[in-house]
């Protein structure tokens, strides 16, 4: 990695538009002027309802579709250049792999395609297959795998060459709760190792747990890009207090609006003891739903 690429965004979409032409001259605007920069080393969640344009954006990043206008760059290189995908691991939505091959054979193929040395590749294949808990099934053809197991192979083939950037389209899809927990753990581990993770999901709780930033796309437009931490902090609109009367021993629970908190606390008599004070927050899901319903004003397309 050169000093120049260190300062480049990992993924950069500039005024990206995509129009699909259908039969009978019909046109569908899948993306409208999407501008976004995903920083190196961050975990970016891409949220949006079905048909919002998440997969179109991801396919543009991976060079699977050609933008109608605008550009996509990966580490400063145009996404149209196959070399730009060298530092990228990609998991498509509902992945499917050559079902006559075994999981191990497929991973070896992927690793060799990325130019990995044979010895390292063997070790990494074993490591990721064990990490995804499909080591025992490695010699079975993929056609005998369940949907969840294929999803695990998909994640394994993303990890096998240890990419700097991971683009994951619905990585939790088809996984059982254990699998989802495992993937979240993997994403957090990647984050701790400075990897960039860009993933789309419908599951807002996953974004809350693992993401640094979140982008919300609606009808092909990027409506908001926010720091998850800030959304969570800004979402505190009141506090729930549990108060005990030291004389009578009675315990009462009150909910105070955020601006009124200070005045309320000053007004408490000395015999009132605060047992618990916790914030009442608007969560990411409410933030998302407000955007979807148009309740919140459209945010600027952030960089």
């Amino acid at each position: 990695m050169t000093s120049q690429t260190l300062h480049e965004p990992a993924i950069e979409l500039a005024n990206l538009c995509k129009v699909y032409s259908g039969k009978g001259g019909s046109r569908l605007q899948a993306l409208q002027g999407v501008t976004l920069a995903v920083r190196q080393g961050e975990v970016f969640g891409f949220l949006g309802p079905n048909g919002a344009g998440k997969s179109s954006a991801i396919k543009s990043i991976m060079g699977l579709i050609t933008p109608s206008s605008g550009s996509v760059r990966i580490m400063g290189q145009p996404a149209t250049d196959p070399d730009s995908r060298q530092p990228v691991g990609y998991l498509p939505e509902n992945p499917s792999f050559y079902d006559t091959l075994t999981a191990e054979e497929y991973l070896l193929f992927v690793g060799r395609s990325f130019g990995m040395k044979w010895v390292t590749l063997r070790q990494e294949t074993e490591r990721v297959l064990k990490l995804l808990e499909i080591w025992d099934a490695r010699k079975r053809p993929l056609r005998s795998f369940s949907k969840g197991m294929v999803q695990r192979v998909g994640i394994a083939q993303v990890l096998v060459h240890d990419p700097a950037i991971l683009v994951l389209d619905e990585p939790m899809s088809g996984l059982d709760p254990l699998g989802r927990a495992l993937v979240k753990e993997i994403i957090l581990d990647l984050k701790s190792r400075g990897k960039t993770v860009f993933f789309s999901t419908h599951i807002i709780a996953d974004v809350e747990e693992v993401c640094d930033r979140v982008g919300v796309i609606l009808n092909g437009e990027l409506r908001a890009v926010e720091e998850v931490r800030e959304v969570m902090a800004a979402g505190v609109h009141g506090y729930r207090l549990k108060i005990r009367d030291t004389e009578s021993g009675e315990i009462e629970e009150v909910t105070i609006h955020r601006p009124a908190l200070s005045g309320y606390l000053h007004g408490l008599t000395p015999r009132k003891e605060i047992l618990l004070m916790e914030p009442v927050r608007r969560n990411l899901e409410e933030f998302f739903l407000e955007l979807v319903k148009g309740a919140a004003a459209p945010g600027p397309e952030a960089m």
């Binding site: 699977l64 990228v88 990609y90 998991l91 498509p92 050559y98 990325f114």
Partner: protein
């Protein structure tokens, strides 16, 4: 590219179609007995039947393996992960095509060996009047393989633009029929029977002759059956024609595939 070729080849060996082709090899076992029905031309008939059998099997391979190899990758969504790997679509397509071409050649080698065994058995039961020219037999099988590799390239070309199974398969069959008849059609236009035809029609057909492949040029069956010497110059010209035509079709396929939207 070579990794795509290797996994594609691996997939072929585990494919049901190929297992079916292997089973069809048992028909070769019947050729010596069938050839004896001709009484006098046992060896000639055994060569004819063997070469025809190879042609049929290679045609099935070109149409179904060539026509569905790329189409299946797209239809079953394998291509979404493959095309995200750090190589161009052109190299991916070339890797897939080389796998089909190598497999076709491999099948030709195996069937060539089987043919040699079959013809030897037939000739032993009824010695031929003229010696068997083994070299001609092998050349006929080799040129036949070239013909079907060229046909496979058309299957790939159709698959790059089609989202359905029908165009690659039916289009390839149509090219096979047109390519097999093109030489005959041109010769007919030059004959006295075609004197009354409209000049515009004749000119159009002659232009089309240069556009569609000429599979007759690859046909050395008569040379193999009757031991007629093969023209070295003709062979070289046909091979040059094969390389140039194949290069043009595959280049066009690569160009079209590089623009295809993987929705």
């Amino acid at each position: 590219m070579r990794f795509v070729m290797f996994i594609t080849l691996k997939g072929f060996f585990r494919d049901r179609l190929v297992h079916g082709l292997l089973i069809s090899l048992v028909f070769f076992a019947a050729i010596p007995s069938l050839s004896n029905l001709s009484m006098r031309q046992v060896t000639e008939l055994s060569i004819t039947l063997s070469l025809s059998m190879i042609s049929v099997l290679q045609l099935v391979l070109a149409v179904f393996l060539g026509g569905t190899s790329l189409w299946k990758d797209i239809e079953r969504r394998y291509a979404f992960s493959l095309l995200a790997l750090p190589f161009s679509r052109g190299r991916y397509l070339l890797g897939k095509f080389l796998a089909v071409a190598l497999f076709t050649l491999g099948v030709a080698v195996v069937l060539g060996c089987v043919t040699c065994a079959v013809v030897t058995i037939a000739a032993a039961s009824y010695p031929p009047d003229r010696p068997i020219v083994w070299w001609n037999l092998l050349l006929a099988i080799g040129m036949d393989a070239c013909k079907y590799i060229l046909l496979s390239s058309f299957a790939f070309l159709f698959a790059t633009v089609s989202s359905s199974f029908f165009l690659p398969v039916l289009g390839t069959l149509a090219v096979f029929m047109v390519g097999s008849a093109s030489q005959g059609a041109l010769e007919y236009l030059g004959s006295s029977e075609a004197a009354t035809m409209a000049p515009l029609f004749k000119r159009t057909v002659s232009y089309l002759y240069y556009l569609v492949p000429n599979f007759s040029a690859f046909d050395l069956k008569v040379n193999a059956i009757y031991g007629i010497p093969v023209s070295g110059r003709g062979m070289i010209l046909t091979l040059l024609y094969f390389v140039a035509y194949l290069g043009a079709v595959i280049s066009l396929a690569m160009l079209l595939f590089s623009r295809r939207e993987m929705k």
